[in-house]
């Protein structure tokens, strides 16, 4: 630690701290145009010049890159410094008179009109002020070294290699982010990439997935993180005080021994772009239900405001039910939750905007406790309910020279007429679908699926949480579309079933088991390799096979294969099945 005096204020800072930072600690403001905390100081604007006095000598230095030393004193406000700043600022204003940051700084330093006339005057409001932040961030922080300075003196400018468009740029946007004037821009040309699942999603490479995430910690998207492209940046690690950022972390596979499993893998949202008539993915203001849910969230991208893509409040909103559900071309089943969340959307849109709201429904299914009352309340709020599934969403022709909005074509079956309703925003109520990888999960647990693709319960009425595999339970939308109360009820039931077995400490196993009749077994060992559970062991001393009853599941494959009929399946013995045959045929 060293102690220095800045404008007669004593301040203690670690050695090698730049004077600029020491002054900041002392509460003294030093103007600068090219300094950024995260980038090595470049000292190019010269605006942060200060007078350093050591003994009887004094000299003018740039405070951003001059390290403090014991015994120096600094003057940031002497007449000499004021004069230097004024000249620098006048030169800047004369060259870039319309750049916002330059004008603001000039105002702060009390300069109204420069005394000089620049030969290289650039009147653009987003002119490059040659602060070098973009060049330095690209080289030092990102590690891509794409941007650089070219030419000398007043001709100096920031260029790409050979002044040509390059594919070496990793398009991280750091340069555009640090540019104080907006001279560096990100331009998207001919973007043909896949549309991301949620266009309203995170804008940075490190983000908290959602405010409700458990645990609520940020995650890094390695595909867009600069560090994983160039090895540079590490800005997040630099600013993280508890040093919680770890770039070395990898996905790891952890094996845990468990006795029972609850499969609650949830659902996927129906991809509405399959139904081209509704324009999802083609028109800007057609949202899926989950996207709209994000928009409504107070921590979401619009802060909970209902806005169209151009940032305006919609004048009319159409909510279309049953997208992909109750449709023989896609899913014949009802997704159960859509009617109610569509009503909730209508309520919130009504609450937050003055938009007219139209609901296009086939049937309203307000089946739960308090649901019908909510529906009646919505009707009183003045929501337009149109019975009839919308036929298509099209772009409306321009009106009074203004770009047209969207038009929903539908049949209003209650009045028996075709209607066209202009809206600014369309919300689609996508169907709930089985998870796309549910077949993999299903085979992992040897459980079946019902015709709709969701996991099959042991019995539709008497045992809706267990599956045909002992110790495997299902809950929530993995079993079928359901709302939150139903999911909670089913999951609680499954948890109770699981706890019952845990507290009992032992399990009852099905009496259907294979058994070896020792006196008939010839020890051929055919059955040994057939058993998928490894339940059959060979007794070397007796030279016969033996079934471990705790491991055997009773499939009977070994019974069918035994050439000497020494293996019997309890409950399904040869004699039993043969007499069944006789009973059926004679």
């Amino acid at each position: 630690m060293v102690t220095i005096k800045i404008d007669d204020i004593e301040v203690q800072v670690p050695e090698d701290t730049p004077i600029l930072k020491a002054a900041e600690k002392a509460g003294i403001w030093i103007p600068t145009m090219c300094y950024n905390d995260l980038i090595e100081p470049y000292g190019v604007c010269r605006l942060c010049s200060v007078e350093v006095i050591r003994g009887k000598r004094s000299r003018v230095v740039t405070s951003c890159n001059y390290p403090v030393r014991e015994g120096i004193s600094v003057r940031t406000n002497s007449e000499k410094i004021k004069w230097i700043r004024k000249v620098i600022m006048e030169l800047m204003v004369s060259r870039w008179p319309n750049v916002k940051v330059v004008r603001e700084m000039a105002e702060k330093l009390g300069i109204e009109k420069p005394r000089f006339e620049s030969l290289e005057k650039d009147e653009a409001p987003d002119a490059c002020i040659l602060c070098g932040l973009c060049v330095n961030v690209c080289r030092d922080l990102v590690g891509a070294s794409i941007l650089g300075f070219a030419y000398r003196g007043i001709k100096r400018e920031v260029v790409l290699p050979f002044d040509e468009i390059t594919d070496k740029c990793i398009v991280c946007g750091a340069c555009a982010h640090v540019c104080p004037t907006g001279h560096v821009k990100m331009i998207v040309e001919d973007y043909k990439g896949k549309k991301p699942e949620f266009t309203l999603g995170p804008k940075t490479a490190i983000y908290v997935p959602s405010m409700q995430a458990v645990p609520r910690v940020p995650v890094i998207d390695p595909e867009s993180c600069i560090h994983f492209k160039t090895g540079g940046c590490e800005t997040c690690a630099k600013v993280c005080e508890p040093k919680a950022i770890n770039y070395e972390m990898k996905d790891e596979v952890v094996e845990i021994d468990v006795g029972q499993i609850l499969v609650a893998t949830g659902y996927d949202l129906f991809d509405a772009s399959q139904m081209a008539q509704y324009g999802y993915g083609r028109y800007d203001n057609v949202y899926s239900s989950l996207e709209f849910e994000m928009m409504l969230n107070s921590t979401g991208p619009t802060g909970g405001k209902v806005l169209t893509k151009d940032g305006k409040e919609p004048r009319a909103v159409g909510i279309i039910h049953c997208i992909g559900s109750r449709d023989t071309n896609y899913h014949p089943y009802c997704s159960r939750v859509c009617c109610m969340y569509a009503l909730k959307f209508a309520h919130l849109v009504h609450d937050r905007t003055n938009a007219a709201i139209y609901q296009f429904y086939i049937d309203m299914r307000a089946f739960g406790k308090g649901y019908e009352e909510f529906y009646s309340r919505l009707l009183d709020e003045g929501i337009n309910m149109i019975r009839g599934k919308a036929a298509e969403v099209v772009e409306a022709p321009p009106v009074n020279g203004q770009q047209g909005n969207l038009l929903i074509r539908c049949e209003d079956t209650l009045i028996g007429k075709f209607r066209e309703i202009p809206v600014d925003m369309v919300i689609l109520c996508n169907a709930i679908e089985p998870k796309r990888d549910s077949d993999i999960i299903r085979r992992l647990f040897s459980i079946s699926k019902s015709p709709d693709g969701f996991f099959l319960e042991r019995h539709p009425k008497l045992d809706p949480t267990a599956t045909t595999t002992d110790g495997v339970y299902i809950a929530g939308c993995a079993q079928g579309p359901k709302d939150i109360p139903d999911t909670v009820a089913q999951a609680s039931s499954a948890a109770a079933r699981i706890l019952t077995l845990i507290s009992r400490g032992e399990v009852e196993i099905d009496p259907v088991r294979a058994m070896v009749m020792d006196e008939y077994c010839s020890g051929c060992r055919i059955c040994n390799n057939l058993c998928p559970y490894g339940a059959i062991e060979f007794l070397e001393d007796k030279k016969i096979s033996h079934v471990n009853e705790a491991l055997c599941k009773g499939c009977g494959t070994c019974v069918a294969a035994c050439p000497s009929s020494a293996m019997t399946g309890q409950g399904f013995t040869d004699a039993q099945i043969l007499s069944e045959l006789e009973g059926l045929l004679i």
Partner: protein
């Protein structure tokens, strides 16, 4: 009286038997000619049972199990998958048309498929006519 085939169906407990159950619960009509015997797995179906069924006068035998990869017991249906083609060759040597034996995959969710399989197979056996092998006890007595 028109010929009504007697068909024995061996159904695995987890897929096909549940599928047949679903067909019933869904009120899907299927031919009553198939008499069902439940086994825990299609792999439990001993070839002896099938031969015995033919011997006792069954006009057809259908074995139904889970789709490959879906077996409740991991791989029981693969064993059946290998046994049935051998058995078809064997019954041909006995003078029984191999078409009278069929292996089908019906999952627990395929009630409609169960009905289709049963109806198709019954029609096929109806066309083939009664089983004609001399060792079939019941038929011998009728002669």
């Amino acid at each position: 009286m028109a010929f009504e085939p007697k068909i024995i169906g061996f159904l695995c407990n987890w897929c096909s038997y549940s599928g047949a159950d679903l067909a019933g619960v869904s009120r899907i009509k299927s031919a009553p000619n198939v008499r069902v015997i439940r086994t825990m797995c299609s792999g439990r179906v001993d070839p002896t049972f099938i031969l015995k069924a033919f011997q006792l006068g069954a006009d057809g035998v259908v074995v139904m199990g889970c789709h490959p990869g879906d077996c409740h017991y991991q791989e029981g249906n693969y064993k059946t998958m290998r046994r049935i083609p051998f058995l078809k060759k064997l019954i041909k040597d006995f003078g029984i048309e191999p078409e009278r034996l069929r292996l089908e995959w019906v999952s627990a969710s395929e009630g409609d498929r169960y009905a289709t399989v049963v109806n198709e197979f019954t029609e096929e056996i109806r066309k083939l006519g009664p089983i004609k092998h001399p060792s079939c006890k019941v038929k011998l007595e009728q002669i």
